[in-house]
């Protein structure tokens, strides 16, 4: 077998035609491009108006002292508002709360949704009814969701106390929304209830695309339910998991309506449910500090991007190691097989 020489692939030459055909084709291609650009222009303008302009405006606002209550003059202050982010204990506390809220809602939310999806793809009686019931929380508007959980966790008349007392978990009525910690946990509970249907549906759809013969083959090879889940199910829905993690991370950073309704618009008690997004709202609309509020909003955007990149890198990492032969890949292992030929 002759040795092959690796060469950099060259761009294919454009075919020539007699009589300056290449030149005419070049013009035609440019014309095509212009025409395509023209067709895309309305969409680009809409994107600019709806996304680029507000983001650009927020960026511009964040470089100014813009508080109408203090002064009608709005001087350029450079990066002062961004410096304030690093020194403001209220922002730091809001960030900590957001991390706590996000870690639980994202990880537990996705894990629970996978579990529910696996359960709902099994054959059992009333499966169709269970799937319909799953949609109920999703059908509830966010504000109604907040009101509902506020009523359920009311310290005097809420049903949560009645149920938990009946089960012997608590002795007397607990004021769930009067302490920052328990109010935050109620918020997490309410948000998880709202987000689970979407994530579960996503995973049900992903699970239905996994070929059944993989499971049959694995069973014949003697793989139990856990191994089948770990080495067939999870790798097969890997891209869906990535999507769910990114989407849920973004939602957890943006949570607002449930906090607003649950806490009477205050993010309390004692600021205990004031996440970064709610802090941006309070700063911008309650305190009218639009410059600093815009800086907080920009920081949220940066956080969203960072987290999305983090998840993408994390999900890419195993393939990267495997491609370089790092790590053990035994029989039945996860990831691409080592090439043998």
């Amino acid at each position: 077998m002759p040795a092959t020489t690796l060469t950099t692939p060259s761009r294919p030459h454009a075919p020539t035609a007699p009589g300056g055909g290449r030149l005419r084709r070049g013009r035609a291609e440019r014309g095509d491009r212009r025409f395509n650009l023209l067709l895309m222009a309305p969409a680009v303008l809409v994107v600019l108006a709806l996304f680029a302009y507000p983001i650009g405006y927020a960026g511009w606002l964040s470089l100014h002292q813009w508080n109408d209550k203090i002064s009608p003059v709005h001087p350029y202050t450079g990066t002062d508002n961004y410096h304030q982010l690093f020194t403001d204990p209220a922002y730091r506390e809001a960030l900590n709360r957001t991390v706590y809220f996000s870690v639980i809602t994202v990880l537990a939310g996705v894990a629970l949704a996978i579990g529910l999806a696996v359960l709902l793809t099994q054959q059992f009686r009333f499966r169709a009814l269970a799937r319909v019931l799953l949609l109920v929380p999703w059908a509830v508007p966010p504000v109604v969701n907040g009101i509902m959980w506020h009523l359920i966790f009311d310290g005097d008349t809420g049903i949560a106390n009645t149920v938990l007392r009946g089960l012997g978990i608590i002795d007397g009525n607990k004021q769930w929304l009067s302490s920052p910690t328990s109010a935050m946990n109620v918020l997490i509970f309410a948000e998880m209830w709202k987000l689970l249907p979407f994530l579960t549906l996503l995973f049900i759809a992903a699970l239905q695309s996994v070929p059944a013969n993989l499971y049959r083959a694995a069973s014949i090879d003697g793989a139990g339910a856990i191994r089948r889940f770990a080495f067939i199910t999870l790798p097969s829905i890997r891209t869906t998991i990535l999507f769910a993690l990114i989407v849920q991370s973004m939602w957890s950073l943006k949570v607002f309506d449930t906090i607003y309704v649950l806490t009477g618009g205050s993010g309390g008690p004692a600021g205990g449910t004031t996440t970064v997004n709610f802090f941006a709202y309070l700063t911008t609309f309650s305190n009218l500090d639009r410059g600093y509020g815009a800086a907080i909003a920009i920081s949220i955007m940066a956080l969203v991007l960072l987290i999305a990149v983090f998840w993408m890198l994390l999900f890419r990492a195993p393939s990267w190691f495997v491609a370089r032969g790092i790590g053990r890949r035994g029989p039945g292992g996860l990831g691409p097989r080592r090439r043998t030929a």
Partner: protein, 446 residues
């Protein structure tokens, strides 16, 4: 060839790239100009001269109110249109807790969708100073308007509106529960110590001696402020420096904490009640024996199916180091500085202060009238007996400390108050921290 001709054809029927870019650039420039135009926000009202009543005013107005009063929709608006010939194009109500941010957004956009907006002490200061409310000439203020009610629509000596009702907190108690606990049902606890003793006697069997609405930012603040005033304290000194962390302030917060944590006479749900309406219901249902609340407590408590008039006691608030004091909750209407119908808007403001409207406010809503003459009118006092308590309470300080920095400071202070109530910090540390934060906030306004 066919391709070429297609290109030529399209270049004739569609705008060229240059014109498309020009169009796009124009749109972006227009957006940029819109953004820049926001730079002048806040100057309109500050330079506006005070508005005096016009001999005649017509046209139409739009009103944005909170959802406290039903009488406007149920008749006053129609009667105003009939009496003045001014059309009320829209009368809209919004939840009080949501209204501030909605108004701030409207004003900062120099929006003139509403000519008349609801206001109170904090907003009159905040929006008035920002130049978003139309200053009124003194000649626009009707004779005999209560000073406390006028304060709620004024800031820094400038009148920005006219009151729609007067309000101050007084003490309500459940006579049946007093009787059951062996306390004299017709005698109000006269001092703070009397109140605490009574509350101890009244607590038990699912009933608490006292309940409050401290579940949100403003609620925590106003409950602390009330005890601070009852202790002879003040929010700020003469130079607007925070004084709420004085010994009197620390003692006031300590007393509030003790009610909940040591004496255990305050309903634990007080920390999650976010508005006075829920407190109204709690009291009317007999779950709290004593509450310090707004006048609207009375009609709810005496309504059919509730306690009934004979079971509701009402008196001035019991003092700690002073005889009594209270917090102001008067509300009013102001004119949007960007309104195009200011003369007609002023007619509405004045109409609301007239005797027929005020009598209806007393009879149907239970709020106090805004003029001194009506406070003493027999038809008013016989229908709303608690008006006489307000007259007594008016002999003592009734304050709210509305200021442009109100919401910023209250946010910080209420966090400290709630943290102390939860026993996570001492009253002194909570108030000292809040005072430092308040000083930094107020310094920005100088």
């Amino acid at each position: 060839m066919a391709h070429h001709s297609q290109h030529t054809q399209s270049s004739h029927s569609l705008p060229s790239r240059r014109s498309a870019l020009a169009l796009g650039g124009g749109l972006i420039a227009a957006a940029g100009l819109t953004a820049c135009s926001g730079g002048s926000t806040g100057t309109a009202g500050t330079s506006a001269s005070p508005l005096a009543p016009a001999s005649s005013a017509g046209g139409s107005i739009r009103i944005l109110d909170d959802n406290t009063n039903k009488i406007f929709q149920s008749g006053v608006v129609a009667q105003f249109e009939k009496d003045t010939g001014i059309k009320v194009e829209k009368y809209e109500q919004a939840n009080f807790n949501d209204l501030h941010d909605r108004l701030a957004t409207l004003f900062s956009a120099q929006d003139s969708s509403y000519d008349v907006v609801m206001t109170w002490a904090a907003w009159s200061a905040e929006f008035g100073r920002a130049g978003w409310l139309q200053p009124l000439d003194r000649s626009a203020v009707p004779q005999g308007v209560l000073p406390a009610a006028l304060d709620a629509v004024s800031y820094g000596g400038t009148v920005y509106g006219l009151p729609k009702f007067a309000s101050a907190q007084t003490m309500f108690w459940n006579k049946n529960l007093f009787d059951k606990a062996g306390l004299a049902p017709d005698t109000a606890p006269a001092t703070w110590d009397d109140f605490v003793s009574a509350a101890k006697e009244l607590t038990g069997g699912g009933v608490y001696g006292y309940a409050a609405d401290m579940g949100n930012t403003d609620g925590a603040y106003q409950n602390f402020l009330r005890v601070l005033l009852l202790n002879g304290g003040t929010m700020y000194d003469a130079d607007n420096k925070p004084a709420f962390n004085s010994d009197k302030g620390v003692d006031a917060l300590d007393r509030l904490v003790r009610l909940l944590r040591t004496d255990k006479v305050m309903s634990p749900s007080s920390l999650q009640i976010t508005n006075s309406s829920d407190l109204n219901t709690l009291f009317a249902n007999g779950k709290a024996a004593i509450v310090f609340n707004w006048p609207a407590q009375y009609p709810v408590a005496v309504a059919q199916g509730a306690l009934g008039a004979s079971a509701v006691g009402n008196g001035i608030l019991p003092g700690i180091t002073v005889k009594s004091a209270s917090i102001d909750g008067s509300e009013g209407f102001a004119i949007n500085a960007f309104s195009q119908n200011k003369a007609a808007a002023l007619k509405w403001l004045q109409y609301v202060t007239t005797a027929p409207v005020q009598r209806e406010m007393v009879q149907k809503e239970g709020w106090f009238p805004v003029t001194t003459s009506l406070l003493q009118e027999k038809t008013v006092t016989s229908h709303l007996p608690i008006v006489s308590t307000y007259l007594q309470e008016s002999r003592y300080p009734i304050k709210r400390f509305g200021a442009p920095w109100y919401s910023d400071v209250v946010q910080q202070l209420s966090t400290g108050i709630t943290t102390a109530m939860l026993g996570r910090t001492t009253p002194k540390k909570a108030l000292d921290t809040a005072a430092d934060q308040a000083s930094a906030i107020i310094a920005k306004y100088k």
